[in-house]
């Protein structure tokens, strides 16, 4: 037997195992236990949830390794952690810690205004955010093994997530309707590698798993993006900024599985206390928008 580790199949395969599930932002080991008990498929280890990062301002960086390690020790499910866009040394540190996935994330302050991390150079798999198909395919060509639409993190507002998911899926449908000889120009317009564009046109889907992030704060929000075609969800501030985190977490897990069953959705949505308060997008100055980070 010649075993080969960190192959493309195992990298994107872990994301396949997370499908139909909820990945939750957690800042302490206790949060992580609550998330695992609620049925989270993975946790994102952070120092602050996006709503607090937004409120605090300043430069948001990779978490202290001791925070990440305490969370890794507390749960048996996969642990993800965030590195700044382009900050390949933060990514090297996270790989050295042995995290299961790295999120090269717009929620943190970008470290490089031109280049993303060369993710092929790492053994640990990466998830990256996108707003549209071109951005998704550029991240995949850099080695991302999982994609999530960005939404607008820390707002509790689903509108950006819906816009972006619809955009990605509409652009995929557009590619499917094209003649072969039109795909060259489509690749140019998408600013994405032709080979990936051709593959998406043939398969009718991204070559990696596609989750939705940024703004999910109720079971109905999770079911909405699942019905639209998401393969799973990230919930950041929506759980631990709600009145009853454990109940909200459980309800969002149930809603993600039974996204197509309105009776069950009604059942799990009952009596959850207040969700996070949330922000209208118009209240956020352009300079504080997170989704526009990354290119």
């Amino acid at each position: 037997m010649s075993a080969e580790t960190s192959t493309w199949t195992t990298k994107k395969g872990l994301a396949q195992m997370l499908k139909g599930g909820v990945i939750m932002d957690v800042v302490t080991a206790e949060h992580a236990k609550i998330a695992e008990d609620a049925g989270a498929v993975a946790v994102m280890a952070l120092e602050r949830v996006p709503a607090d990062i937004r409120a605090a301002g300043g430069v948001a960086r990779m978490s202290d390794p001791s925070v990440i390690e305490s969370i890794m020790a507390a749960v048996s499910i996969p642990v993800m952690a965030k590195a700044r866009i382009g900050h390949f040394v933060e990514a090297q540190i996270l790989e050295a810690l042995g995290v299961d996935y790295i999120d090269e994330s717009e929620v943190l302050t970008p470290a490089d205004e031109t280049n993303h991390i060369d993710k092929h150079a790492f053994k640990v798999p990466f998830v990256c955010g996108c707003r549209n198909l071109g951005e998704a395919l550029r991240r995949i060509s850099e080695g991302a093994a999982m994609i999530r639409t960005k939404g607008e993190a820390g707002t509790g507002n689903i509108v950006e997530a819906v816009r972006q998911l619809r955009s990605v899926l509409a652009e995929i449908r557009r590619l499917q309707s094209m003649r072969e000889d039109e795909l060259f120009v489509a690749a140019k317009e998408l600013q994405a590698p032709y080979e990936l564009v051709r593959q998406v046109a043939a398969d009718g889907k991204l070559p990696v798993v596609n989750f939705v992030a940024g703004g999910i704060s109720t079971p109905a929000d999770a079911a909405l993006v699942m019905q639209l075609g998401a393969e799973g969800v990230f919930v950041g501030s929506g759980i631990f900024k709600s009145e009853e985190p454990a109940r909200m977490a459980t309800a969002i897990v149930q809603a993600t599985t039974h996204f197509d069953d309105p009776k069950i959705l009604a059942d799990v949505s009952r009596g959850l206390g207040s969700p996070m308060r949330g922000l209208a997008l118009e209240q956020i100055p352009d300079a504080e928008r997170l989704a526009v980070r990354g290119w």
Binding site: M1, S2, A3, E4, T5, S6, T7, T9, T10, G13, L14, Q16, M17, L18, K19, G20, G21, E36, D37, A38, G39, A40, V41, A42, S76, I77, P78, E95, G98, V99, D100, Y101, K123, V124, P125, T250, V253, Q254, T257, H258, D261
Partner: protein, 212 residues
């Protein structure tokens, strides 16, 4: 022939696609009533802790055990193996105690230790099986009625069968490997439509005459 795929969480879509590719009609199972009319069931990879919660919350546990008791085939990959194990290392309560084995979760380590390797699975023929192991479990102990279908070179057990229950620590559904699903379909057909004039026969690859 319809075969169900437990679809509460995990890579159930990959099992669905594999069943479709071998000409079997897949049925996604999220609630007990979805078990009606299916001849077998696949339990996908995923996170066993999440799957456990969803099985318990929606009352699937009893109906799944009843389904297994009819003799219909069940096939679990990775988390599906953990879900069907009688003993889980570390003292976790079993979910569906159908398979007399002890499994060790995340036995190889974290994601950085996930790997691919060629395996020999004699009951499926001479062609090796390409094993994709993702944060995979291993089988640490097998009971007297359990057949070992495959081991790694170091002897660690990664595929087992006990009567109508089959489980692998790896993911044939990620490797384009249809032979396990074909075996399940064959067993399901024999279970549903035993040949005319005969009593319900045991499957040819089933081990006979061992003490239970």
């Amino acid at each position: 022939m319809k075969i169900g795929v437990l679809a509460v969480q995990g890579d159930f879509a990959e099992h669905v696609a594999m069943l479709r590719s071998i000409g079997v009609e897949p049925v996604e199972v999220r609630l007990p009533e979805h078990l009606e009319g299916i001849g077998g069931l696949c339990l996908p990879g995923g996170e066993s802790t999440a799957m456990r919660r969803l099985i318990e919350r929606w009352g699937l546990r009893g109906p799944l055990l009843d389904f297994a008791a009819t003799g219909a085939p069940l096939f679990g990959t990775c988390a599906g193996m953990i879900i069907m194990a009688k003993d889980i290392d570390g003292g976790e309560e079993p979910v569906l105690p159908l398979l007399d084995v002890t499994v060790h979760r995340n036995a190889f380590g974290r994601q950085l230790d996930s790997f691919e390797a060629e395996l020999t699975v004699p009951v499926l023929g001479d062609q090796p099986i390409h094993g994709v192991f993702i944060r995979a479990p291993i089988v640490e102990r097998v009971g007297a009625g359990v057949d070992v279908l495959a081991s790694l070179d170091d002897g660690r057990i990664v595929a087992v069968r006990e009567r109508n229950i089959i489980a692998t620590a790896f993911h044939p559904e990620l490797a384009g490997e249809p032979r396990f699903h074909r075996l399940v379909a064959t067993m399901a057909t024999e279970h549903q439509e035993p040949a005319e004039g005969s009593a319900r026969r045991r499957h040819p690859t089933r081990r006979e005459g061992l003490p239970r």
